[in-house]
Amino acid sequence: MDHREAANRLYREFGPAVYRRCLRLLRDREAAQDATQEVFVTLVRNMTRLEERGDALPWIYRVSTNHCLNVLRNRGRRGEEALAVDLEVDERSAAEVLPDRRLAHELLDRFDASTQAVVVGVLVDGMERDEVAAALGISRRTVSRRLERFLSSSRRLTGKEPS
């Protein structure tokens, strides 16, 4: 199978997952289309990983998330909509953590890319910490540590405590 054929097949198979991820984070159809194209160029350049289907989805999630968060940060720098405005907090089990999620909305763009990815995974996507750890290729302990740092810093910065 030549490059064109293989890339075409993988884009058709995994493109929807990338597009959905970008739509979820960017909440803009045209921006999601551009981001999907950019992310997939990177993915196809590492085609063998896409062909190992067991590992492909977490990797796709990681690359797509990092890219879209970067797009959002750049928007903020250009004075367009800020990062927090674009993120739709997951409402599943919202009653338990809603105060923290509100803090996430207000403060996420103050933090580095890696912490943002953890926070988005746990507080926006509603993922378990183990799942975020597997998707981002870091330990569960690191996920917990970064999340806790984010939350405690957020509370300190806003002077708010979770109810």
């Binding site: 959905r20 194209q37 997939f40 196809v44 350049r45 970067n70 890696s114 378990e128 981002l136 870091i138």
Partner: protein
């Protein structure tokens, strides 16, 4: 349903292979998940109808492997290498921060700011996490430079230029403006200077670093060269080790 609904990532796995995903039982009995799946399928239809046709040619073209150098391209560097063989034997092995490609070189010097002034770091030196770092590169050819760092937990940080900015063209010895703090935790972290003739997407670089230079402490310590970069790309690296973190320090804010 009383069990927690699966994340979007798990539902993606379900869409790819319902049986192997382990979510089929939950989805069958969960109205909320079926609604989510309906939305995901609608987005997939949107992708197939509009996004795929509009972007597939660009994706295939931009991701195509670069053509090889051909026989002449292989022969000439080999001939040059043979001619330079004696010289290579007589030349001391360069330090880790100086890696040559086709006679072109890039070096990276890293300085830690301290109350006593700036101090140049040596390879493998233990530094406090919060230490502001400055960078100096020296390149034999004009190229566009980025400085990134990778740690054992899979984290890649853009140290220079600021995220979102285009890599500036540098030539000769250049002190890069501004300083940067590393965001890793305890353990090793590698700083890379990557200098390319053409602008290189930072995402592609980050993925290369993530794949080759992160994962565990030993991988970070050993990853003194990143492979798979475009031909002619120069690189230099310095390993630092983070000391014990002091309680109450915040390192993850910008």
């Amino acid at each position: 349903m009383t069990t927690r609904c699966p994340s979007d990532l798990r539902l993606e796995a379900y869409l790819l292979d319902p049986e192997r995903s382990g979510e089929a039982g939950h989805v069958a009995g969960c109205e909320a998940c079926r609604v989510r799946l309906g939305r995901m399928n609608a987005e997939a239809a949107d992708f197939r109808q509009y996004v795929f046709p509009a972007t597939v040619d660009a994706v295939v073209a931009a991701s195509a492997p670069r053509p090889g150098p051909g026989w002449l391209g292989v022969f000439l560097p080999l001939a040059s290498a043979c001619a330079a063989g004696m010289l290579l034997f007589l030349t001391p092995v360069p330090p880790e921060g100086l890696l040559a490609a086709r006679g072109e070189v890039l070096s990276l010097d890293v300085f830690a700011e301290s109350p006593e002034g700036a101090r140049q770091l040596t390879n493998g030196e233990l530094i406090p996490l919060a230490a502001p770092l400055r960078f100096r590169v020296n390149t034999s050819v004009p190229c566009r430079v980025r400085v990134l760092a990778a740690d054992c937990e899979g984290r890649v940080s853009e140290l220079y230029p600021a995220p979102g900015e285009e890599a500036p063209l540098v030539s000769g010895s250049t002190v890069l403006p501004g300083d940067a703090k590393l965001g890793g935790d305890e353990g090793p972290e590698r700083i890379y200077a990557i200098c390319s003739r053409e602008p290189m997407p930072v995402l592609a670089l980050a993925v290369s670093l993530m794949d080759q230079a992160t994962g565990d402490d030993d991988r970070v310590r050993r990853a003194s060269r990143i492979s798979g970069l475009p031909p002619g790309t120069l690189q230099a690296t310095l390993l630092v080790e983070h000391g014990e973190e002091k309680p109450g320090e915040e390192h993850h804010e910008k």
